[in-house]
Symmetry: C2
Subunit: 360 residues, 2 copies
């Protein structure tokens, strides 16, 4: 099988580029001096290859060919092979990954993707709207009331704040039952189709129990931060969960892996049906170019996988709806949380304004 | 209960320090405008507090007081609260975390620690020795033969290379059974006490199955990369595993979380009995000061937790044994992999030299 092509940007003098590239190939595969390897098959089939070196403004880019067999076709080991040890080399950044044909089949990919989310929410031909239940630490009744207001306003998806996990004041089961009921009741009143995406958190045992609760109570979407629960747990969760999964980027920015690779390409490979990213001009420093690239990578044709739904967020406001739809098009879900909640007693009206603007 | 004190270094003009600190406190707790919060209890008990701001060479340090209740006393949510969203703000680095009294009890901490590893290996009063089976992709018989040689030489701990996971050529179960047998057989011949630490990888289901195999076959230590398997999975694994756990730093490096916090403090909190770190002067760029701080934090008295055994590694050689023991003292395990394997047909002699030097 062809190699996995991983591209690294190395900030170092170009005179070192050949030696650096070779050292990185060793580090990311056999991690020992090649002179001490006597097995020809290992040298040929296991050691990563240097496919190309190209000069850049500050340093150079190196493309390594990583043998698919070294990943064991499992998520934690794939991450290990593409960015395990070199994560500890501050001058090395992972800027792209290309998978060989057939490799993606070992991973779930989006099981629902853009079309699946459109089916669940009943939204055709326009961008979707999303908001968040906040703040964490609020009584469950408050969160349920908030969810009712958002549902009455006709929001498509209500997610938990990513800070709302399984805390004592709003444990997963009690909260999910109450909020899902509030949403379902309000849907019946309006004839609407709003869905609720609670935050899943913790280890495999907790995730499985949360999946059971969600399945039992008609929850239609899950919010999960792959880097917090762990990427293999994110993959494994999908076995128990017959609903779309929205990936949250918390803890994922910490890594010197380019955001389009992580939030776009890898989260999609691992099964994200929708992927939240911090939009430019909000509380985070991503550029417009980076954000456009995340959305492009999340949706582009790739190994027969379904496209994932990009979800710009992070300090967005209703004023920016038109701009975001202009940037990202209709196959997008706009997430506005604090920007709606700031309306306080006018929350219903403000949310309706959001919904209306997206429908135009 | 008192707050969790998290210290962040922010690279920004000092004139912005007050506003930046307040924004970070909001980001890492309620993530919404405070003006939209009407619940006094949330404002008082949930919103993170700015405890101090102190100017630094390039920017300033901010200490936030994070409410323990927001973590749900669970590992993924703790990481979320201390570095979830701000991981996406490149100007913010997490440089320390102090836990309030009693908080650590929610996490395993080292269950064996330095003393437990000394008991298992029978090593008293000197540093321990460790090496690695490499390269990945080698037939199991080769790895078992290598393990036999290391055991005959009297190494204390033989770990799998962190790249050896559950791949087709050396699946976990077959490999572990063969290598453990080779080690046990050689121990019987020498009267020695060498132990084997295989790499655990994958999701919760895989980890549990691997724990079963390890328990069934008398394996006495586990090697796990918490950031690859996911921190909650790392914690959960310990329920199934009655042997010491050695943490590997793969995928944990250069995360804009200071290495002493991650590899020393947090991995210990989450249960690492031993923690591998890239020693200075090897293939990674950590300074001597950073390495000394990792070892200090791993072993210092902290919330009644057992000390964790620091394991310097990453391109070390037998020449540096004296220096490493001088730096880190006897409660240390020296890990030399490639530096031994480079001896090729003189592997037994070279390994004996390593063992002898540490025993002096």
């Amino acid at each position: 099988m062809e190699r996995i092509l991983a591209t690294y940007r190395i900030t170092a003098p170009e005179s070192e580029s050949r030696a650096r590239a070779q050292a990185l190939a060793v580090e990311q595969s056999v991690e020992m001096p090649l002179s001490a390897i006597t097995d020809e098959a290992v040298l040929r089939d296991v050691v990563a290859t240097v496919e190309s070196i190209s000069p850049q403004a500050k340093g150079f880019d190196v493309v390594l060919g990583i043998a698919p067999s070294t990943t064991g076709r499992e998520a934690s080991q794939l991450m290990n092979m593409i960015f395990g040890n070199c994560s500890m080399q501050p001058e090395v950044e992972l800027i792209d990954v290309e998978l060989p044909d057939g490799f993606a089949k070992s991973f779930p990919g989006p099981r629902y993707g853009v079309e699946g989310i459109r089916t669940v929410t009943g939204v055709k031909g326009r961008a979707l709207t999303c908001t968040a239940l906040k703040p964490q630490g609020s009584p469950i009744e408050y969160l349920a009331r908030l969810a009712r207001t958002f549902t009455l306003a006709g929001i498509d998806v209500i997610k938990d704040d990513h800070g709302i996990a399984n805390q004592a004041i709003h444990p997963f089961e009690q909260r999910v039952v109450a909020v899902q009921k509030a949403v379902s009741d309000a849907n019946r009143e309006t004839g609407g189709n709003t869905i609720y995406a609670p935050t899943f958190s913790g280890g495999g045992l907790s995730l499985r129990e949360q999946a059971r609760v969600a399945n039992d109570h008609g929850v239609k979407m899950a919010l999960v931060a792959p880097m917090l629960v762990g990427i293999p747990a994110f993959v494994e969760l999908q076995v128990d969960l017959a609903i779309p999964v929205m990936a949250h980027p918390a803890f994922a920015g910490a890594t010197r892996m380019a955001p389009p690779v992580v939030l776009g390409k890898l989260f999609r490979l691992f099964g994200a049906d929708a992927t939240i990213f911090p939009n430019y001009g909000g509380r985070f420093g991503y550029s417009r170019e980076t954000c456009l690239e995340i959305t492009r990578v999340a949706r582009e044709p790739s190994h027969g996988m379904r496209p994932a739904l990009p979800v710009p967020a992070g300090g967005m406001t209703v004023d920016r709806v038109e701009e975001m739809v202009g940037d990202y098009g209709a196959d997008t879900m706009l997430l506005i949380g604090g920007g709606l909640l700031s309306a306080r007693e006018k929350l219903l009206e403000k949310t309706r304004e959001f919904v209306r603007k997206v429908s135009l």
